[in-house]
């Protein structure tokens, strides 16, 4: 009996060490540490119901943005235009809400979809690198936002405030995460995105519609920016020229903090997007408890970002990053 048992005991152990890479868990451990740290600093206020609601509201757009941006990053591309995408959709939704509140959300989504497709088409048809395209649309759309908002802010009818509801947001955010996880891991769409990131030419030669996947990625990301823009607008009660400012940097920082490889490919995970967003949200929220001067917060975010990259990026693989 003992002879039979021995190999059975050894086998799974070997497999575990084979498959588990400690670096995969650093973001998760980081999140726990950061929560514990601020929980102690804030003497328990961090995890109070009231503050958790606040964190949910603060991180809502970020989680949705990073999760949908994952479909682009998995392909080895980036979307710098997200901030302006939130801005333009919010302003369009606000104008619509003044006339016909019911149409505000559909308009936000459709405006996002259209500009997202434009992003994708510019990238695919004119062979302009994705970061140049989206950096340009970041500027163009910000200009457009300022123009159609008349340089100030567009207020929203009072009836819209019913959408600023934590319960609703929780359902939406969990729904988005669930659908994204399924699509990313168990459907052709997610697998094709990762294949493009692993090697666009090899994917193309295996029948992956590479251009379609690229356009899809930008369309998805921008449409979800429309969703963020809408909720942003109802929370603020208005849409302004600076709505969504620097959203794209927060998304990228969150992705990297979560351990998402920016070169894309098979090791991309939705988990990275969610954990990264939570780290960034808890950090921003917690710094307030720590009585850190607001003017210093941006700097601290930067330092945390740098340390996180240093800890999580596998230097052995650095050479294969495009």
């Amino acid at each position: 009996m003992a002879q039979v048992k021995a190999p059975v005991l050894v086998k799974p152990k070997k497999k575990l060490t084979d498959r588990i890479n400690i670096r995969d868990f650093i973001p998760f451990i980081g999140l726990i540490l950061i929560v514990l740290f601020f929980q102690i600093i804030s003497e328990g206020t961090l995890l109070s119901i009231k503050n958790m609601k606040l964190i949910l509201n603060q991180s809502f757009a970020l989680v949705i943005g990073t999760v949908s941006c994952s479909f682009i990053v998995a392909q080895g591309d980036v979307d710098f235009s997200m901030g302006s995408m939130v801005g333009i959709t919010a302003v369009c939704a606000a104008w619509t809400a003044q006339v016909m509140p019911v149409l505000a959300l559909p308009v936000a989504l459709v405006v996002g979809l259209v500009f997202g497709m434009i992003n994708g088409l510019l990238y695919v048809k004119f062979h302009i690198p994705s970061f140049v395209v989206t950096l340009s649309t970041l500027l163009v759309l910000r200009g457009l936002t300022i123009f159609i908002s008349g340089g100030g802010s567009v207020s929203v009818p009072f009836s819209m405030y019913i959408y600023d509801n934590s319960g609703l947001k929780l359902v939406v955010v969990l729904g988005v995460i669930a659908i994204a996880c399924f699509a990313f891991n168990y459907t052709k769409v997610g697998k094709f995105c990762k294949a493009v990131g692993s090697g666009a030419e090899a994917a193309f030669q295996s029948g992956v519609p590479v251009n379609k996947m690229r356009i899809f990625g930008y369309a998805l990301s921008a449409t979800m920016c429309g969703l963020c823009g809408f909720f942003n607008m109802v929370r603020a009660g208005s849409a302004a020229t600076n709505t969504g400012n620097l959203f794209e940097t927060d998304v990228l920082i969150a992705l990297v903090l979560g351990g998402m490889p920016l070169s894309g490919g098979a090791s991309s995970k939705i988990r990275c997007a969610v954990i990264g967003s939570l780290i960034l949200a808890v950090l921003a929220n917690g710094l307030v408890f720590w009585n850190i001067n607001e003017k210093l917060q941006q700097g601290i975010k930067g330092v945390v970002f740098l340390v996180a990259v240093w800890l999580t990026f596998d230097k052995r693989n650095a050479q294969v990053i495009k």
Binding site: K188, K191, K194, A195, S198, S206, A266
Partner: protein, 499 residues
Amino acid sequence: MEDKAVLSVSNITKNFGIVKALNQVSIDFRSGEIHGLIGENGSGKSTMASVITGVYKAEEGTMTLNGKPYQPESVLDAARQGICMIVQEMGTIDGISVAANVFAGKENLFAHMGIVRKKEMIRAAQNILDEIGASDIRAENPIDGESFENRKIVEIARAMYEEVKVMIVDETTTALSQKGREILYRLMNRLRDEGKTIIFISHDLDELTQLCDSVTILRDGNFVRDLKKEEITPDTMRKLMVGRDVQDDYYRTDQQRALTDQVVLEVEHVSSSLLKDISLNLKKGEILGIGGLTDCGMHELGKVIFGIQQPKKGNVYAGEKRIRIRNPRTAIRQKIGYVSKNRDQESIMKLSNIRDNICLPSYDKIKKGCYVSPKAEEGLAGKESGKLSIKMSSLDQLCIQLSGGNKQKVALAKWLGNDSDLLILDCPTRGIDVGVKAAIYQLMNQYKQSGKSILMISEELQELIGMSDRILILKDGALSGTFDRSPDLTENDLIQYMI
């Protein structure tokens, strides 16, 4: 002619993984000679040039230059010691003038008080161009507007101003028209008369005969023979280049031709940048071999057939319904699979695991609704990798960790798993060790026997003769010969149509 060697390499060995690219090769290059270096594809001649110019380091062996030990650290180091190379690919710098290209790195010749006198430089460059017979290239023009051929000539003009001791010309002539060749020949002759050494790598046996003072033949990384001026004839060179026995048991032993007359693939009058009006068809249960020199257009033909590259003229049709192939997706729908010559970049995703690579074209086959279950993936990848006995730790292993042969097996498993009826294999056994090679040949044979078809593009003549039912030879982008399977077919027969 002096008899002392300027550059001698002795017992050079260079391995690429399991492949011995050079095995204990020794050659003496004398001053005042044009020394041809020839051999089939993969015989090691380009590797030798790379070792001499410091691109690669040899694992064993020594080199001496003018009697002193010579160990180049880099291409730059080799150039500093007087060894330079004109290559097949582009070697000019964009964005500056022709004159600036000719004198790249030597601007000091025209510097007065730190300012380069452009007019003087342009005049000097024009003089050189006129001298070598390329007066139609204007030295003041930007290089970007010049044709590929003219750029090559500018590169040659630049080489004239180098303080060269040894100049290596690597298959440059394939990129040149007659005019460019004449200029190159004239320059080579002139350098020889000045007592320099030229190492000339070429496939063109006529030009070798005409130019060379001596020729060294390599085969499979081994030194075969040195030929003196009077011994150099196309025939002797051809014999020595090929001269090996075909191992019979390795390849197919039957003399069977195509199993049926049913056409599964038709290429109609396809022309592209390299191809000239190619028409061919492939039958069910046939292995069609396509051979030629590397740059004859056969690799492009494979890409055109699979829809990766669009032909300028002509069409490719597949299947009974004669569906036109426009892109890889339409080809895959017609149950065609393609394995590229450029395995690591195009056939597999190196940084993905074996499972994802094998399943990639087959998600439509294994999904239920839109759900692709991990179990179904595991099943397909497990079955196919098992059939081909891919050596791996698990299906989660990344392809980058596999050997060349196993990577190729993954690329094949991908298409077998997708139930392809027609495989386009571009150099299916390139850089693969003998064991896996035999396995792939066996697989190809079984595939044919089950009534499926293979279009095999290969640079290895033995492989073509050993495996194909029919062989088409391409030369300069056009079909130059067709051979049916026959035990009497020799490599010499094929080479005549290639060169």
